[in-house]
Amino acid sequence: MAAADVRDMLDLPAEGQPRPHKKQKVVEKRPEGITRELFALLGERAPPIAINENRYKGRPKWQTKARVRPCARSDDLVLRHWQREPESTNIPAIEDTRAEGETKEQGEHKTADREYPFAKYNIKLKFSNRYTTDEYNRHLRSEDWSREETDYLMDLVEEYDLRWVVIADRYDFQPQRVDNTEETSSALVPSKQFRTMEQMKARYYFVAASMLALEHPPSEMSEAEFDLHERMMKFDPERERHRKELAALQLNRTADEVREETVLLEELKRITANEQEFVTERRELYSRLDVPISVSNATNYHNSQGLSHLLQTLLQADKSKKRRSILGPDGIAPTSGGQTPTIPNAPGSARDSSRADTPNGGTTQSTTTKKAAAAANREAAQQAIRTLTPAEEARYGVQHHDRLAPGVQFRSDRAQKLTQAKSHVQTQKLASALAELEVPLRLFMPTERVVKEFEKLIHSVNLLLDARKVAEKVESEIRVLEAAKEERERKAKELREKDKPEVKSEQQDNDVPIPPAPAPVAAGDASQTGQPAKTNEGQAELNGSSTTNNVADSEPSTQEQEGVSHKRSASVLSNGSDKSSKRQKK
């Protein structure tokens, strides 16, 4: 089927309509450097990045010979420099200087345009002004150096740009250069002197510094100039010579000496590494011992400033802790660590005798030599191996446990748990008791010892609370029984008074006095807790048993009633005032 038939069928316009798509493709020109196949793959859209960037553009064309005069020269040497041909080729390739007639202007214009690119590297040191004869005679005279030789030295220094190695190497002053014509004087000419580099330097520095000082008196010099002046004036040839001798000795060591030195260096490295390790270990220990971390090297405390700073920090630490340590042994324990540095000579504290960061320990360490430090090091290493005495165990906080609960637990959590009793009321009571003792509910410093003491405290508070509960119960029972007894006595009186007819009412009366009791029971229940003793059965049982025992001991006659209202009676008394418990505690 021909295309024309299809068009016909689809009612499309006849051929002749340009097909824009195809035409575009024709318009797109394949850039050079891309193969046809690759270009076909690219499709219609040109890639965003030009691919044919780094193409070899052919050999660079060098202009045969252009004449450029190196501006760095004093004379007019003209050399033929090879240069790249500029892109536009309308500039004449060769400028002939000899036939300059018509191109002269152009040529001049060009050379003026083009500074010789390497001229900027042609630099020379700047030297201070040379002395005049007058200046020399007044300021620079020397026993050792003649004027001629000084001149020669200054020339040489300038020539070799202060390269002293070269100057000393080329130094060859002929003293009799001037007087050579006279036979008589040549006999008197001093023998040629060998000058060392130090002598030359000393002389030159002296001359240069003097000239500098003549130019500006030292008071008017700029800082750089003054520095220079100072340094030149302070040059000590003797010391320099000595230094060079030592350097030569060092250079000419034998192989054995070199080996020994490397071994020693190795040893030194090892020792310092050990020391470092020791210091870090000790620092870790101290941080664990809860000591304010201090710099372990004592050099900071050598001057008074450092010492006062140390005192300041210690006082600060002290102050912050004082608030916590009003009462109790647990308050003192944490502060003792902070206080030790202020009383360094206290013999009781084993810790500060070996501590390097206390002022005392610091000074002793500073006076000891490196060897001593190394020895201490070794000792420390031995200490780490040997078993600790109980005192040391206490010092480092080493503990031995029979059985450890798995996982990590915090002492502070443990202390927190202690303050939480099983019942809310109990907890409140504990809290109020602690508040009364001015012990914070949450421990500030839950160290081992503090927590232990806290535990004890909580335990005794609980005991006392229990005791108070029992006491109140017993009291109320006594009251009830006393009331009953009164009643009985009253009735007996009445009986005695009325005799027989009153026997009937006795039973009525017996019922009557009991009702007052349930009322307080209800009140006590409401006040105590929403959840009755069911939740803390153990405690209740314990309480119950203790109360029963107590009651049994004190008042065996109340046994029958006890059975009826055991719990009730306890609760009756429980809403009694805190006064009783307070009294007990005191």
């Binding site: 780094n54 070899y56 553009k57 052919g58 050999r59 660079p60 010979k65 190196p70 760095a72 020269r73 004379d75 007019d76 040497l77 003209v78 050399l79 033929r80 420099h81 090879w82 790249r84 000899r98 690119p117 390497f118 001229a119 590297y121 042609n122 020539e159 070799y160 390269r163 002293w164 190695v165 070269v166 000393a168 190497d169 080329r170 580099m197 060079k244 350097a247 030569a248 060092q250 250079l251 000419n252 060591r253 034998t254 192989a255 000496e257 070199v258 080996r259």
Partner: protein
Amino acid sequence: MNASVPPSAAEYGGDEVSAIVLDPGFSTTRAGFAGEDTPKSLVPTYYGKYSFEGQEKLIFGDDVFVTPRPSLSVGNPMGRDGVVEDWDMAEKLWEYSFTSRLTGAKPSNPLHNGLNDLVEGELPTEMEGVETNEKPLADSPLLMSECSWNPTKAREKTIEIAMEKWGTPAFYLARNGVLASFAAGKASALVVDIGASNISVTPVHDGMVLKRGVQHSPLGGDYISSQIRALFKTNTPQPITITPHYLISSKTAVEAGQPPQAKYKTFPPEKAPDASYRSLLEERTLTEFKECVVQVWPGPTKLSAPGPNGVPNEEMARSTPGRPFEFPDGYNQVFGVDRYRVVESLFDAKATILDPDSQFPAPTPAQTIPELIKAALNGVDVDLRPHLLANVVVTGASSLLYGFTDRLNQELMQLYPGPRVRISAPGNTSERRFSSWIGGSILASLGTFHQMWISKKEFDEHGPNIVEKRCK
């Protein structure tokens, strides 16, 4: 980097002025354009002289070795100490070295060659500048190298030749030690140059030779040749005589150690070349021997000393497999420990193979390489020594002896156990052989160097003594 983009002038620093670098040595003379990596023109410094039909003729270049002309004598303008002795011949030879390959032959006299003949009706052109154009180097500045102990007279003579005879517009004379250190990319170095006639140790600081440290001794390649000759004389199965190729007409292969079976050429006395020709060609054979067989005992101790595990080093050397060498006449032999012995005296004066006929007196201990280096270092400031030891540059064709740098390294480490010793010896043979030329090539193509040239004008003003002032 793209090759078609020129490097920016600042980082590249090159500025070509088509300078010619000429590095004359005792054995070869190197010449080439600055900026290239090897000299284009490498000619032997030996020249041939013979008379033909009553006229004296000279042969330069490799042609010297080729034809045994009647009464051909071979000469060398250089003295054994590296200073020019025969200035006339040196000038001719040097001129040959750059005209043969680089600048082209000297044009004939323009007054007579017909090119300048006046055409009818034309005014005569200016002939003033023409004179300079006739000279072979009129277009090119010339950088020449010299040994560090070159006397002032020789330096002045050199600049006179360059300026007056060759007409160079600019000239510079550089020490070959400095150039070698430049070729190694160092401004400060201790250059150990093992040449043909000399070994020299040159301390270089900031591109300047430290004259008091410069040391040299004659234990160069020719001395090693004399040691090999002495060895051949005392060879055990039979003494070996070196017969150069030009005397052999045919040879047959023989077993190792068997006497050679060859037909020799004979020259009638009036047609025979001079003895110097024969010794030059024998030297070529010996060079081949040095390249193929000779080996430097690697150390760390001397060849005569006991080795590290108690076995004498000689025994150790004997146990290594030998190297065979066949002489031009077909005689061949495997060389065992002897190949170490011929060069051992460069490091150990006692190990010299004595030979009463040799032109070289037995070396003194002070002439050995370690002692030279020691003396050179003692001649410079103590602060500089460790730096120099860390920058030891080894150059010269004779330093290509197998194992030379290893041994030198060992010797220096023993001599100076403290400071770090570092030897910089290019592995590329041409870099080792031509390092002072390469340094000159680098130097003369630097843009910053062009201020250093001594121009013709300056020479005219100040006379030849300017070379002392400028080329320090």
